[in-house]
């Protein structure tokens, strides 16, 4: 059994081995207990500085990383772009070099450009954790999804997963596909054909443009946010039509497996890709995902910075 991660950074689930994924999930299980205590803090990362560098808006992920760092006693500094030198024209490279000069122990970065975390990981000596870059990867989301699935289903191998929605623009889908394939899960993607990338089969997934079929056989359904800001490009005719054809509601769930679980990485458009009664219903694990996100990020911070 391995006991540390090979790479200095966590850029994507593509680079992780199945053993590394299991190490993260097992460590997260131990971390989860800490969040249930009255005193939710352990001294493991005392004296370590973690910088959250967010070039894109985020509530869940940024807060989750901040809480994760604080529960391990690290000092967490948040930089959001609207208040940083970036608005004064500083390049990403200069920002990274300046942060490096302050000796951080980890930098968590979200950026609208794919490849930004990889780029700064080559400049920074400390671990860099990707909190979402463009349409590339969002590895901590995929890992917390796996954690949540394993918690409910006990075993990952052989599970059928349907990821439904805007696959083309989704870093969550990509990270999940890489990670789930490694864990021996069977992934189907579904949604309007304009939102499913050509050649996606090469990633090792099945395509189903019939959402009903994708729902029927699935042990796990992951609904993706329909990115309303991309509506102008005319990738689908109307939100109402999208909702009717591809949105998950009680009616479509009738043919689902009895023990199906439903997840969504958030933020949700209630009434668009998922109806309110399904989002709040008995199959939904959406809030468990948020709880588990803290544990998974604690595990990653500890594994990457604990032994430095």
């Amino acid at each position: 059994m391995i006991n540390k991660l090979k790479s200095k950074d966590l850029i994507g689930t593509k680079d992780l081995s199945p053993e590394e994924i299991l190490l993260i999930l097992d460590t997260a299980e131990s971390m989860k207990e800490i969040s249930s205590r009255d005193i939710k803090k352990v001294p493991a990362l005392r004296g370590k500085t973690i910088i959250n560098l967010f070039y894109e808006s985020s509530t869940r992920t940024r807060t989750s990383f901040e809480i994760a760092g604080k529960r391990l006693s690290a000092d967490v500094v948040n930089i959001s772009v609207s208040t940083s030198s970036v608005v004064k024209g500083e390049t990403l490279k200069d920002t990274a070099k300046n942060l490096e000069a302050m000796n951080p122990d980890a930098v968590v970065i979200r950026h609208s450009s794919s490849g930004a975390p990889d780029f700064i990981s080559k400049i920074l000596k400390c671990p860099v954790i990707n909190a979402g870059d463009g349409a590339h990867e969002h590895p901590t989301q995929a890992l917390l999804d796996l954690f949540t699935i394993r918690e409910k289903k006990k075993e990952l191998k052989g599970l059928k997963v349907s990821i439904i929605g805007d696959i083309a623009h989704s870093r969550v889908a990509r990270s999940n596909i890489y990670a789930m394939n490694k864990m021996g899960m069977d992934v189907t993607v579904s949604g309007p054909s304009t939102l499913i990338p050509v050649d996606i089969e090469k990633m090792g997934v099945k395509i189903s443009t019939d959402v009903k079929k994708a729902i029927e056989g699935a042990d796990v359904i992951i609904m993706l946010r329909i990115q309303l800001e991309r509506q102008e490009k005319g990738l689908f005719p109307s939100i109402r039509e999208y909702s009717r054809l591809f949105g998950l509601n009680t009616e479509k769930l009738k043919n689902a497996k009895e023990d199906v679980i439903i997840m969504h990485p958030g933020p949700m458009n209630r009434g668009v890709e998922i109806s309110a009664d399904v989002a709040d219903g008995q199959y939904s694990l959406i809030l468990d995902q948020v709880t588990n996100g803290v544990a998974v990020r604690m595990a990653i911070l500890h594994l990457l910075t604990g032994g430095a």
Binding site: N3, P43, L72
Partner: protein, 179 residues
């Protein structure tokens, strides 16, 4: 060179004696909880609870503490330690906590375990029970209950083997290779 310092019977007798001493010192089993330090402290803790039940007829709650996140020597040790779960599914506040480990050496693990316990509540007191005390303390810590004192040198290692983990009950002292 290996020297066997305790066999299975001796390990068993030591734990039995500690059980009696715990009950004597605390005038019974009332308000006592036992917490074992991962890994081998846990098995000794469980055995201690069984003995106490046999003697006193009272079931004692047993918990597990993982000290990985509290260690001060984590820099050198991270590669050896995977974070495991702390499982103490009962309140330790106002309880007499018997903290159990296999070997007492520098005292640093015990310091970490005490910090961990205090984060979980405010016990009435914490008492320390160890199977082996091998000396060489680096912190002002002593055990309340000791199975056996074994004077050692720094270049020896004390290996406690227990059925639950190692298939056999015994304690051996090994000479470490000089570098």
């Amino acid at each position: 060179m290996n020297t066997r310092v305790m066999n299975a019977d001796e390990v068993n007798r030591a734990i039995t004696r500690i059980a009696h001493e715990v009950l004597e010192k605390n005038r019974g089993a009332h308000d006592i909880v036992i917490v074992g330090i991962r890994t081998r402290g846990v098995f000794i803790a469980e055995r201690l609870a069984i003995k106490i039940k046999e003697i006193e007829g009272e079931a004692i709650p047993v918990g597990i503490i993982d000290i990985t996140l509290y260690r001060d020597d984590i820099k050198s040790d991270i590669s050896k330690h995977i974070v495991k779960k702390t499982e103490i599914p009962f309140s330790i506040t106002d309880k007499k906590v018997i903290l159990v480990d296999d070997v007492l050496y520098t005292g640093r693990s015990i310091r970490a375990a005490i910090d961990g316990l205090i984060d979980l509540g405010r016990p009435a007191n914490i008492q320390l029970a160890v199977l082996i005390d091998r000396g060489h303390r680096e912190l002002p810590i002593r055990a309340d209950f000791v199975g056996k004192n074994i004077p050692t040198s720094h270049n020896e290692s004390v290996k406690v083997m227990l059925k639950e983990e190692d298939g056999v009950d015994k304690v051996v002292v090994e000479e470490l290779d000089d570098k």
